[in-house]
């Protein structure tokens, strides 16, 4: 049995070792190199060509912060939605299963950009109309905050994908683990909390990290719904100065720094989660 599980445990490593740069150690080095290269490039551009690069950076600086805040807040909410959705989708109750399946299928079938536009432009008039109809003043004067509506949109959109990730993780835990926990007298909830979810989480950690990086990039879509993120600030700078090439090179490099850094953090977390395997 031991030899068997050893082989199973080692298999991905052995397969990966044949792909150059794909072993965790190599990959981390390559990432470090790339990350540092991009940072150095940005610093060089700013120092040697302050006009326009330093001007661009100063102009979009507040956008960087907005991008990070929108991404991180949405991501925390996405993980919560995904956790609840994944649990509901693997639950015995067929109504909760059906409801969450419906949510996932509908949301996955609609472009994220369309969803974001819907929440910001299409929903508020409906709420206002409803408020007038029912005579509720707070609803009738409802004015959407762009950042909050963007976070709502990203959370609902990405929550559907995260639900699927968590469901896959829960289903990847062998049935015998739940049976062992239940046979000891643990309730379904205890078994989930102490046995199933910790193992599922380790399995899906790479996928969760991937979702974070994709969310970071897709957060640029919120520039369309009045959020002054990095992309929107870039567009504003371009229309003021008419230097599109330098502007978008700078914006692209800034995104690259954020995504490469996130990828490093994710791989570090993955390594930490391997204890006991």
């Amino acid at each position: 049995m031991q030899s068997k599980s050893r082989i199973v445990g080692d298999a991905p490593e052995k397969v990966l070792s044949k792909v150059p740069g794909a072993r965790p150690e190599d990959r981390i080095d390559a990432w470090w190199g790339l990350f540092l290269g991009v940072v150095v490039l940005v610093v060089v551009l700013i120092i040697f060509w302050p006009d326009p690069y330093r001007r661009i950076l100063e102009f979009v600086a507040d956008g960087i912060l907005i991008t990070i805040v929108v991404t991180v807040v949405s991501f925390v909410l996405v993980v919560i939605v995904g956790l609840l959705g994944g649990l509901a989708r693997t639950a015995r109750n067929r109504y909760s299963r059906g409801f969450v399946s419906l949510y996932v299928e509908i949301i996955r079938g609609i472009p994220l950009l369309v969803q974001l536009i819907f929440w910001y432009y299409a929903l508020p008039p409906v709420i206002q109309g409803l408020g007038e109809l029912l005579g509720i003043q707070a609803l009738a004067t409802f004015a959407p905050d762009p950042i909050i509506m963007a976070i709502v949109g990203l959370t609902i959109g990405y929550g559907a994908y995260m639900t699927e990730v968590v469901r896959a993780g829960i289903q990847s835990v062998p049935k015998g683990q739940i049976e062992a926990a239940r046979s000891l007298g643990l309730t379904y909830r205890m078994a989930m909390q102490h046995v199933v979810l910790p193992q599922a989480f380790r399995t899906i950690l790479p996928a969760i990290g991937n979702e974070f990086i994709t969310l970071l990039k897709d957060s640029s879509l919120v520039s369309v719904v009045a959020v002054a993120d990095m992309t929107r600030r870039g567009r504003e700078f371009m229309s003021m100065t008419f230097i599109p090439f330098q502007t978008w090179i700078m914006v692209a490099l800034l995104y690259l720094i954020l995504t490469l850094f996130s990828a490093r953090v994710v791989s570090w977390l993955e390594k930490k989660a391997q204890v006991g395997r």
């Binding site: 049995m1 031991q2 049976e179 062992a180 046979s183 000891l184 007298g185 643990l186 193992q199 006991g276």
Partner: protein, 242 residues
């Protein structure tokens, strides 16, 4: 004496398959019962019905006076009935010690120190105290199964169920697991064991039950069943494994 396990006319269907066909069985406190039979005869299914890991479609099971009907009763029974699986099913993300601690802490509400003391004593008893801080996949199959037994014993169960505990083990590791089980039997634990280990059956069993096609075909003391089987099914089965 009042039986500690009372199984009355259990029927179980897997879709079209009639896996258990009206099985009735009483087991006395302290009794060691070995269930044998060809694969697909329903022996594991019957065992899994006793702590309701498997739901049954008809009949009643009462364990230690508690009928297996409501969710609360089922959980109450499970805290008194330990189970050991063919595939060990240790929690792979926890150390050996945490595996044994978990249910004591959550269900028995013992303090951390008390759990540790208990768990270490149990590891001593199954002969691998030095593995307390190891993770399950670092252990051999025999060691994993002994940890699984210790984990079940940590709840101080009145009954232990064993579902083919040595079938997934390499031959040289079978004995170390059977020795632990033999000690348990000597101490008077009520045990229901699905296994084809004849040596263990002769040494420990009070009763051997032969199942075939979802029914109990023959039962009796090991000597009688093995040396002087009455039914054709028993003779045919024993000729395959002896």
């Amino acid at each position: 004496m009042e039986p500690i396990i009372r199984i009355e006319n259990i029927h179980k269907y897997f879709g079209e398959v009639h896996a258990l066909r009206g099985v009735s069985l009483d087991i006395q406190p302290g009794e060691v019962v070995i269930v044998i039979g060809p694969s697909g005869s329903g022996k594991s299914t019957l065992l899994r019905c006793i702590n309701r890991l498997e739901e049954y479609d008809e009949g009643e099971i009462t364990v230690d006076g508690i009928p297996l009907d409501t969710a609360a009763n089922i959980n109450a029974v499970r805290t008194e009935v330990g189970m050991v699986f063919q595939q060990f099913n240790l929690f792979s993300h926890m150390t050996v010690l945490d595996n044994i601690n978990l249910a004591q802490r959550l269900i028995r509400k013992r303090s951390r120190a008390e759990c540790h003391r208990n768990s270490l004593a149990l590891l001593e008893r199954v002969g691998i105290p030095e593995k307390a801080q190891s993770y399950p996949l670092q252990l051999s199959g025999g060691q994993q199964q002994r940890v699984a037994i210790a984990r079940a014993l940590a709840m101080n169960p009145k009954i232990m169920l064993f579902d083919e505990p040595t079938s997934a083990l390499d031959p040289e590791m079978i004995k170390e697991v059977l020795d632990v089980m033999l000690d348990l039997a000597k101490e008077g634990m009520t045990m229901v064991v699905v296994s084809h280990e004849m040596g263990f059956a002769r040494a420990a069993a009070h009763r051997v039950i032969l199942m075939a096609d979802g029914e109990i075909v023959e039962q009796g003391p090991p000597d009688q069943v093995f040396e002087n089987p009455q039914h054709e099914r028993t003779k045919a089965f024993l000729s395959h494994i002896l």
